[in-house]
């Protein structure tokens, strides 16, 4: 008995032609699914959850706790970028969590009273902290609004770990025959690696004015007791990326 065995490709083609396909036919010029299109979104600036990037700069503000750690204020500050996660709780109230990368630099003025980290004078000298921070916050929004960020006030607590810390200085003229000498002291023991504090943000749309206050001390227990505490305030501007 001879069996005819159709080729596999032809069989597949016949099966494909015989099986019902969902509304398959001509070229579709327009298609819409209102059942899914009209489901209220859960994600959005004023929805259950929202996530966006942000960048900003805060300047160091205030005076050190004593003489010996004067700063060049315009050049001392923190540059940061991060990701914000926001959950709407009810009506105007929301909570959130920021994760950010922050680079904080204290530019030390070179004065005769200088103590931090040494009395030695240089052409330029900085203390630098590269930090990873988390900042939970509570948000109160003002005014009725649609699916936009709107006007808000955030209060927060923040904490972070310095991934890198350094003390850098530049001497001019440099040592020996050099025009300048750059020295970097990595992870100095006198700098505190953990940092924490409180913050507040007053925002409208993508822009926000913010203030952070550091509760933790700048210098660790191994720092000389004569080191005055560095200014605790940071004031600046943040821009949301959305």
């Amino acid at each position: 008995m001879r069996h005819y065995k159709p080729p596999f490709g032809l069989l597949a083609l016949l099966l494909a032609a015989a099986l019902p396909r969902p509304a398959a036919a001509q070229q579709v010029l327009l298609r819409a699914d209102p059942v899914t299109d009209t489901i209220p979104a859960r994600y959005g600036p004023n929805r259950a959850f929202y996530q966006h990037l942000f960048v900003g700069y805060t300047a160091v503000a205030g005076a050190p706790a004593g003489p010996g750690a004067e700063l060049r204020y315009l050049q001392s500050g923190e540059l940061f970028a991060g990701l914000r996660n926001k959950w709407r709780v009810a009506g105007p109230a929301a909570v959130g969590l920021d994760a950010r990368f922050a680079y904080l630099r204290y530019q030390l003025r070179q004065t005769n009273q200088k103590l931090v980290p040494t009395p030695q004078l240089h052409h330029r000298e900085t203390l630098n902290l590269t930090q990873l921070q988390l900042e939970p916050f509570a948000r109160l929004s003002f005014g009725r609004r649609g699916n936009v960020v709107g006007n808000y006030l955030d209060v927060s607590g923040w904490g972070g770990w310095a991934l890198g810390a350094s003390h850098r200085y530049e001497d001019r003229p440099g040592q020996g025959q050099g025009k300048r000498t750059l020295v970097k002291e990595a992870r100095p023991a006198y700098l505190h690696r953990w940092s924490w504090g409180l913050g507040a943000r007053l925002g409208s749309g993508r822009y926000a004015l913010l203030a952070r206050y550091r509760l933790a001390d700048s210098f660790s227990g191994s720092a000389p007791a004569t080191y005055p505490e560095l200014p605790r305030w940071l004031l600046g501007l943040e821009v949301g990326v959305f």
Partner: protein, 560 residues
């Protein structure tokens, strides 16, 4: 003129409180009163003759309680207790004012006050911002219109039946159309409107932001919208269907500025239009996500939607652009006041395919209500300062349909507004089929033919063939072929272009509907073969139907 305007309902009034705290921050509040006890109205003096005639035609009372003035004693108390009163609304028996929170608290305790609501300031965005056809527009005067643009200028009205209306002498004569927009810069000097100025067809103007009669400044969006109602090209082609109508121009919004951008200007303009005898309001504006959520597009939430509904209640047809958010995943749906049930919402069609333009906002309105109601070309040639330009946006579809409505109403002048609304929907090229992209489609003047044979039911063009697990749509042989037709000869060409416009190849529209009529899925298919569609029966909602439309014929298949 100023005296006449100063007496208008809804005109912003101003009063300074002597007891204003020096440094207290103020916010805006909407104060609603309980009653209008003791108020009377002389409709013969309050309403213009046109407004009185409109009410008589529609068998409406000469006035009702919403037309009565706000009680002066209530108003005086609010003026004394608040910082500034910016609007007095007879329709809502309310005032908008600026006050400190302490003043607002005192207002709540005032006798006769029903409610005091915070009234945030938000911009009334053009729901239909003109969309440049190709990238940013070059600076300087607009380029000359190409032959394709001139052809489009003719087609944008021809597809609605301009020739038929013109033959019947229906070009909006005796109709008064109010246009609410962001500004009408250049309207008073543009040659496209010379015929309107010549016969003084712009009967009243008012800028509700600057409180002056001068509306010929600010943005040009209103100029472009007006052109799609009554503009004229130098070759005499009309860009809209109502060049013989009269117009009321109201500037209700300042584009890009939040300070003046408020819903109350729209309400004030609607009351002004009512008093001045407007038959139709065209509003190519709308609120979207700056203030509302899509699920709030229910016709009841926003003040403008409620104001628009009240305007319809007073006999005016409100035509509103659907919006340009169709390709915005954050919004996608219509804005407000287009969400109001009684507002005729107009979506945008591609002039080449007569199908939905991607940017035209989709329905349904919240609650699954049909929106948009109709559609017209969302790409149009319009007048801009210095010339003419091809522009995109449902802003321009709306006045095209408003002009159509004017012609239709002119033919049946005594039709109540909601009867006209229903007739306009029935004039849609897809009627009784509709979907949430096209509504009932492009309205056709033939539906308002004053004389001639009564319309006959269209012959079936397809059949449903049900198998075990499938239902198929098979195009009938006679409908699947395009009969030979004669191209118009040069002799048939009128000064306004050829008399007939060839429609693009007819597609198949089909949808799945629930038992309650909600459309859960819809498509438009190009028809390239007779067996055009197969739908597995399991896809039908319980008790639902497959509904299809092809070449004027609509039929449904009910799930077994």
């Amino acid at each position: 003129m100023i005296l006449w305007l100063s007496g208008l309902v809804g005109l912003p009034a101003t009063a300074q409180s002597p007891s204003r705290p020096a440094a207290a921050p103020t916010a805006r509040y909407w104060v609603t009163f309980r009653d209008k006890a003791g108020q009377t109205l002389q409709p013969q003096t309050y309403f213009t003759a046109a407004a009185q005639a409109r009410r008589r035609r529609q068998h409406l009372p000469a006035f009702d309680s919403t037309d009565l003035p706000v009680r002066p004693d209530y108003l005086a108390r609010v003026q004394a207790l608040s910082d500034t009163v910016s609007l007095v609304s007879r329709w809502f028996n309310a005032v908008a004012c600026r006050a400190t929170p302490a003043q607002a608290a005192r207002l709540r305790l005032m006798p006769g006050v029903r409610r005091v609501e915070a009234w945030p300031e938000r911009p009334l965005l053009p729901a239909a911002t003109p969309r440049p056809n190709t990238g940013p527009q070059p600076a300087g005067p607009p380029a000359r219109l190409s032959s394709a643009d001139r052809a489009l200028a003719h087609r944008q009205t021809a597809v609605l039946g301009a020739a038929e209306f013109r033959r019947a002498g229906q070009q909006g004569q005796g109709l008064r159309i109010a246009v609410f927009d962001v500004g009408f810069r250049g309207t008073d000097t543009h040659p496209a409107f010379a015929h309107l100025l010549r016969r003084q067809a712009i009967v009243a103007t008012y800028d509700f932001l600057r409180r002056s009669p001068d509306v010929f400044r600010g943005g040009t969006h209103g100029t472009e919208v007006l052109a799609c109602l009554a503009g004229q090209l130098p070759d005499s082609t009309f860009l809209g269907l109502a060049p013989e109508a009269e117009f009321l121009l109201a500037r209700t919004e300042q584009q890009g500025r939040e300070r003046y951008a408020e819903e109350e200007a729209w309400l004030a303009a609607a009351e002004w239009a009512d008093r001045n005898g407007a038959d139709i309001i065209n509003s190519s504006l709308g609120y979207t996500d700056r203030r509302y959520f899509p699920e709030q597009m229910n016709g009841r939430t926003s003040l403008v939607a409620r104001a628009a509904a009240l305007a319809v209640h007073k006999g005016m047809l409100v035509v509103n652009a659907a919006g340009n958010a169709g390709d915005d995943p954050r919004w996608r749906t219509i804005g407000t006041p287009a969400d109001a049930d009684s507002v005729l919402t107009v979506g945008g069609l591609d002039p080449e395919t007569w199908l939905h333009l991607d940017f035209s906002s989709y329905g349904p309105a919240a609650g699954g209500r049909l929106k948009p109601n109709l559609a017209a070309f969302g790409v149009a040639v319009t007048a801009v300062p210095g010339g003419f330009e091809r522009v995109e946006g449902t802003s321009f579809a709306s006045p095209l349909v408003a002009g159509f409505a004017a012609c239709a109403w002119q033919q049946q002048r005594d039709l109540p507004v909601m009867a006209l609304f229903a007739r306009l929907q029935q004039a849609g090229q897809l009627y009784p089929y509709f979907d949430y992209a096209h509504g009932y489609g492009l309205p056709q003047a033939a539906a308002f033919r004053p004389v001639g044979p009564p319309p006959t039911l269209p012959a079936p063009t397809f059949d449903f063939i049900a198998a075990d697990s499938l239902v198929s749509i098979i195009i009938r042989p006679e409908a699947g072929t395009v009969p030979a037709y004669q191209l118009p000869l040069l002799a048939d060409t009128t000064a306004n272009g050829p008399a007939a416009v060839a429609a693009p190849p007819a597609p198949l529209y089909w949808q799945l509907r629930t038992a309650t009529g909600f459309i859960v899925r819809y498509e438009v298919l190009e028809v390239g073969q007779r067996a055009v569609l197969r739908v597995p029966l399991r896809q039908l909602p319980p008790g639902g139907t497959v509904r299809a439309h092809y070449r004027g014929y609509t039929a449904s298949f009910v799930a077994p």
